[in-house]
């Protein structure tokens, strides 16, 4: 569904990505793991057209994305939940969802998607007219995901959806990710919470210094000694996901 081949990206003189190749199959959850500055965000920002591609190829359902502007890439069915949620703080919850459905002309379909969103997140139902900036971090994350889903994407990219959220909310977020995948949407997930991400991933890539260090099925990486040593040493949040 999404193929990346030998992707290089640099900011100024700094090489952020030094030739990575990633393949995302339809219906999968694929995770990009790695520490800060490994190049995870740069990868999804390059896919979305937010940063220019140096060399290499990104192919989405047979269409080459290189050189395309961000809004055109989104219209291909590829939605991006940005790092830090980035809800439109000065717009209401409803307006944020409408922004996501900006190119969805069918009004009844828009209403259906919106009702579906409020069914999944009843906490936001009576906050429809509230400004998004006044929501809690978890609610903002749900809104950001819902906003992206309003465009009916076939591939959803999420950049650190659990960042800065309370542990209980984090498990909610992961449940939502699984739910979205069960609806047939392919997911490319960036996470620092490697343990939780690997448990739901069909496949995962471990990035370091702009290169792929390791790749394999999620459960395989979860039991890999190197991954355990480097990323799963902290078991404090493990208990939450054991159920």
């Amino acid at each position: 569904m999404l193929q990346i081949e030998d992707l290089h990206v640099s900011y100024g003189g700094i090489k952020a990505l030094k030739g990575i190749s990633i393949d995302v199959g339809p219906g999968d959850i694929v995770s990009l793991l790695g520490s800060n500055g490994a190049g995870k965000s740069t990868t999804v920002r390059a896919i979305s057209g937010l940063v220019p591609i140096g060399s290499g190829m990104i192919n989405f359902e047979g269409i080459k994305l290189k050189g395309m502007s961000a809004h055109k890439i989104q219209r291909l069915g590829l939605a991006h939940v940005p790092e830090g949620r980035k809800v439109f703080a000065n717009l209401t919850v409803l307006e944020n969802l409408l922004m996501g459905a900006y190119n969805l002309k069918d009004k009844s379909e828009r209403t259906r998607l919106m009702n579906q969103f409020f069914e999944i997140f009843p906490a936001l139902d009576n906050k429809r007219e509230q400004l998004a900036g006044t929501l809690s971090g978890g609610e903002q994350q749900m809104l950001a995901i819902g906003r992206a889903m309003m465009s009916k994407p076939r591939l959803l990219m999420m950049d650190e959806p659990s960042l800065g959220l309370a542990p209980l909310v984090v498990s909610d977020v992961f449940n939502v990710i699984k739910k979205i995948r069960n609806e047939g949407v392919t997911i490319l997930l960036i996470e620092q919470n490697a343990n939780a991400a690997l448990k739901i991933s069909d496949y995962a890539f471990l990035l370091e210094n702009g290169k792929i260090l390791l790749e394999g099925p999620g459960l395989e990486l979860l039991n890999d000694a190197r991954v355990k040593a480097a990323y799963l040493g902290d078991t404090s949040d493990k208990a939450i996901f054991e159920n």
């Binding site: 979305s48 809004h71 989104q74 980035k86 439109f88 000065n90 717009l91 922004m99 906003r147």
Partner: protein, 295 residues
């Protein structure tokens, strides 16, 4: 100062204030989405005035056609200014854009000077806008009524667009986060162009009304109104449409009333606006209705 004189002056002040307000809304909208003070905005008043002038005098168009033509032409110029001058430097530091804006302003003024010449041309005022109504001792120019009602209608339309339409929603979103707007599949440049067009149309209507109030068309006619409208936008709280209109009214009233009370000060008329600007920047930089600016 008796009551009818005072009322008379208030009418003049409101008329002038509306003209400032129409221009200030354009300043404030462009600032709202791009954080850019478009110093070329005042010159759009001149562009519109010339188009309307030539439409009526050279092409003998009926005035509504000429006025509408002026609005459309000015909107196109507004969009072209953005596409040609500001879009290429969208990601550069803000100071570059500001200097570019001043450059565009000089370009428009001097282009008009070269192409049309510097001699002021007297604007033909359609009879519909002439004359005045007498109410007791009070004389209300018909033009004032037109200007007041036109400003009110345009203000309501703009606020309606910003708060009730899809594109208005995109404009408000854009004012906070251009990148995320593009992630929604929205062409940010189209929204920016729309903002420039809307602001330019208001400036165009301000331009033709200005010409009927002060009927001399010349290349530099937009400079002082433009600067004052900028002051009005800052006074009202830059980025806020209603604030810009209110700022314009306050500025217009202040100018007219201070000179009415102290006729000796009429030479300092233009200084009043800038004194207000200094006071506002010192005491309440975000203006009357402004948001808390991030930096």
């Amino acid at each position: 100062m008796d009551l009818s004189f005072a009322t008379q002056q208030v009418i003049y002040g409101l008329t002038l204030g509306c003209l400032y307000g129409l221009l200030a809304i354009g300043y404030t909208m462009v600032y709202g989405v791009l954080r850019l003070i478009n110093f070329a905005h005042g010159d759009l008043l001149m562009v519109s005035a010339y188009v309307a002038f030539f439409g009526i005098i050279i092409f003998s168009l009926p005035w509504p056609v000429a006025f509408l033509g002026a609005a459309i032409f000015t909107a196109v110029i507004g969009i072209l200014i953005d596409r040609g001058a500001y879009k290429p430097i969208r990601k550069s530091p803000r100071i570059s854009a500001l200097i570019t804006a001043i450059g565009v302003s000089f370009l428009l003024e001097n282009l008009a000077l070269v192409l049309i010449g510097g001699r002021p041309k007297s604007f033909p005022i359609p009879t519909l806008f002439n004359g005045s109504l007498s109410i007791g001792e009070l004389k209300v120019p018909v033009l004032s009524l037109w200007i007041l009602s036109l400003t009110l209608v345009l203000l309501v339309i703009v606020i309606g667009i910003v708060h009730k339409t899809r594109i208005g929603m995109a404009m408000r979103a854009l004012s906070r986060d251009i990148e995320t707007v593009s992630l929604m599949g929205i062409d940010e440049n189209r929204v920016i162009s729309f903002t420039f067009a809307l602001g330019s149309i208001l400036a165009a209507f301000g331009g033709v009304m200005w010409c009927m109030r002060y009927p001399a068309v010349e290349p530099f006619m937009g400079v002082i109104p433009g600067l004052k409208a900028f002051v009005a936008a800052v006074l009202g709280g830059i980025g806020n449409v209603t604030g810009a209109a209110i700022g314009g009214l306050i500025l217009g009233l202040a100018e007219v009333l201070i000179v009415a009370i102290q006729p000796d000060w009429s030479g300092y008329r233009d200084a009043i606006a800038f004194c207000i600007m200094i006071v506002i920047l010192l005491t309440r930089p975000r203006g009357i209705m402004g948001e808390n600016l991030p930096d």
